[in-house]
């Protein structure tokens, strides 16, 4: 009965109802859009990091600290024989990391030199270009990332000299040729580093078949490496990415909060700004024999029904849009993808997690419930005779 009366109220409110429902619709759309984009971005960023850098997980030498280049000279070991087979099968990719210095245009730039087998097919790094065909090449083919290229003014075809200490501590120098500037969205394989062939780097630093890292194709692969190695799961590697994104999401939450606020205003407006109008209405309803509980329920239902209609409208009108965003995505302007932030690739695809959507709907619903209940409860507590004296 009350539900029916509430429905009729909404029908009777005409344009005002339409306006309220539209606002709730926009709020829901906005929230879903932001959340979907954020989740999509996060997934893309994780996938990219997996494809370019960390695989399904990796082992690193226990001395290795990627933030401290002084550790590099002690953080490698000979690849055990049983792993060679896995490397051949492309199940594992070994990477050797050394530190060095580059002299682009005479300026000194400290770098990490990373060796990756040219024939690996696990990571997206274009390692085929690193293949050295001559036994004593005049310069070493090197791949760098776009950030590295930009900050040092390097481009494809450039020759730069590179100095480094080998494993025995002897200084050595070599010319490298930038054979490719790779467009990688993962800055942690890009900034301040050059990629050369794994075997070539080994011989440059007077080693053989030694590696700092083993990247795994399959999480379940057992390497039995012993205590000199430490396993870093994919989840752990992603932690810093996630932390960064959490910070970015805070911005998204502000927008979501603003949108929610807007929704509350829409409900409140109908429910509370009209207090004086409502006073007399509520007085009349009391005179007609409604209990306070019934009156509160009536106005609460009214508020919630707006929400229900807003949700239905969102489902009908929003679904095609969100499906499009989730499957086709929206192309990013060139400037943005040039920023080279993790997860920003050419097209942004949103991602919708049913649980997240449910959670957001429940949140909006609870807030709506509260926003419609509160003013009604306040007014209905008034004495009937007083309420009746209110102006129309």
């Amino acid at each position: 009965m009350l539900l029916k009366l509430a429905l009729k109220r909404i029908a009777g409110n005409g344009w005002r109802s339409v306006f309220n429902i539209l606002i709730l619709f926009l709020v829901l759309m906005g929230m879903l859009f932001i959340q979907g984009m954020y989740d999509g971005w996060m997934r893309t960023a994780r996938r990219q990091k997996e494809e370019w850098e960390i695989g399904a997980g990796h082992f690193e030498h226990s001395n290795y600290d990627k933030y401290d280049s002084f550790t590099f000279k002690d953080s490698f070991a000979k690849i055990p024989d049983h792993i060679q087979e896995l490397i051949r099968q492309n199940e594992v990719v070994p990477i050797l990391v050394f530190s060095g210095v580059l002299y682009p245009q005479g300026r000194m730039t400290p770098i990490s030199i990373k060796g990756i087998p040219w024939d690996q097919a696990l990571l997206k790094i274009p390692s085929q270009m690193l293949r050295v065909k001559d036994e004593y090449p005049g310069s070493l083919p090197t791949v760098i990332g776009q950030d590295m290229a930009r900050t040092n003014g390097l481009s494809q075809g450039d020759l730069v000299s590179m100095r480094f200490k080998d494993a025995r501590g002897v200084f050595n120098a070599y010319d490298i040729e930038i054979v490719k500037v790779m467009a990688t969205p993962v800055s942690s394989i890009d900034e301040s580093q050059v990629w050369i062939d794994f075997t070539v780097l080994n011989s440059l630093v007077a080693l053989q078949n030694s590696a700092t890292l083993f990247i795994l194709k399959d999480e379940a692969t057992q390497l039995n490496l012993g205590s000199n190695w430490r396993y870093i799961s994919q989840k752990k590697s992603l932690e810093d990415v996630l932390a960064m994104m959490k910070a970015d999401q805070a911005g998204g939450y502000v927008v979501i909060a603003l949108l929610l606020f807007l929704a509350m205003i829409a409900i409140f407006d109908t429910q509370i700004l009209a207090v004086f109008k409502r006073r007399k209405e509520i007085g009349t309803l009391i005179a007609l024999g409604m209990t306070r509980r019934q009156i509160i329920r009536l106005f609460t239902y009214e508020g919630c029904l707006y929400m229900v209609f807003g949700t239905i409208l969102t489902a009908i009108l929003g679904l095609p849009l969100f499906i499009h965003l989730g499957t086709k995505g929206i192309p990013l302007p060139q400037e943005l993808s040039n920023l080279n932030v993790g997860g920003f690739s050419e097209t942004m695809k949103s991602y919708y997690d049913p649980l997240t959507i449910l959670f957001m709907l429940i949140m909006v619903f609870v807030l709506t419930l509260f926003a419609s209940w509160l003013p009604a409860a306040k007014i209905a507590r008034m004495k009937a005779t007083q309420a009746l004296r209110g102006k129309v």
Partner: protein
């Protein structure tokens, strides 16, 4: 003798105000039998609305006793008084108090929804009530599309639709011209005579007073006169 519909003994109402409160009603004794068609008259501030509100269980007295339809008003809890109003008491207000978001039909139907009457029965009763007040043709209109006379007729229909025992009308003609006033008074008198419904008015309006079978005059919250008219 039959118990009166409303039985008032030594009733008083003290409004709490700054200096010790304001005594709006005092030493009031009144019996209103079923089928009455009567008015409370008196100068502004004499307590007419206050008494009507207490009879209508919207308020309660601060002294004395009042029984309405067999219930002591001050012993009813909110739920019971709401039920009593929903079932047996109709209100007619000076400014009609129609609910603006509902149309005429829905306004009249509302009291029946509260009584959980089924749809067919409801429809019949609403149509009957609209017919009584002669406003069937406007049943899809919104209250703001009605003239004053039409609005008040809808509010009479709303009060009558549940066939209440008692109808309370506070200044029902104050916003109406003579023609419309006479019109609705005719309607109410007719309903009173056909159904035996008790009507209690509060009014200053001589046109209303002329229609009454009984007129109780209040002055400063006390009963000053109680005239039973004959020949009407």
């Amino acid at each position: 003798m039959k118990e009166p519909l409303v039985k008032i003994r030594d009733l008083s109402k003290l409004y709490p105000t700054g200096g010790g409160g304001f005594l709006a009603l005092s030493e009031l004794d009144l019996d209103i039998p079923a089928g009455a068609f009567m008015a409370l008259v008196g100068p502004s501030g004499s307590g007419k609305t206050t008494l009507l509100n207490i009879i209508g269980t919207l308020d309660s007295q601060t002294g004395g006793e009042i029984e309405v339809l067999g219930h002591k008003v001050d012993t009813l809890d909110a739920r019971q008084s709401a039920a009593l109003r929903a079932e047996k008491i109709g209100f007619i207000f000076q400014s009609y108090n129609l609910l603006p978001v509902y149309n005429v039909y829905e306004n009249v139907e509302l009291p029946l929804l509260l009584l959980k009457m089924d749809k067919a029965e409801r429809h019949e009763a609403v149509m009957q009530a609209l017919k009584w007040v002669g406003i069937t043709d406007k049943m899809k209109s919104r209250p703001n599309q009605l003239s004053g006379g039409e609005g008040q007729r809808v509010s009479i229909a709303r009060a009558m639709v549940k066939r209440p025992k008692l109808v309370l009308a506070d200044e029902p003609t104050a916003n109406l011209d003579t023609e419309n006033s006479v019109n609705i008074l005719d309607t109410m008198l007719q309903i009173n005579e056909e159904t035996g419904t008790t009507f209690i008015f509060a009014t200053h309006d001589q046109k209303v007073i002329d229609y009454m079978k009984r007129v109780v005059t209040l002055i400063d919250g006390k009963k000053a006169k109680d005239d039973l008219k004959t020949g009407n």
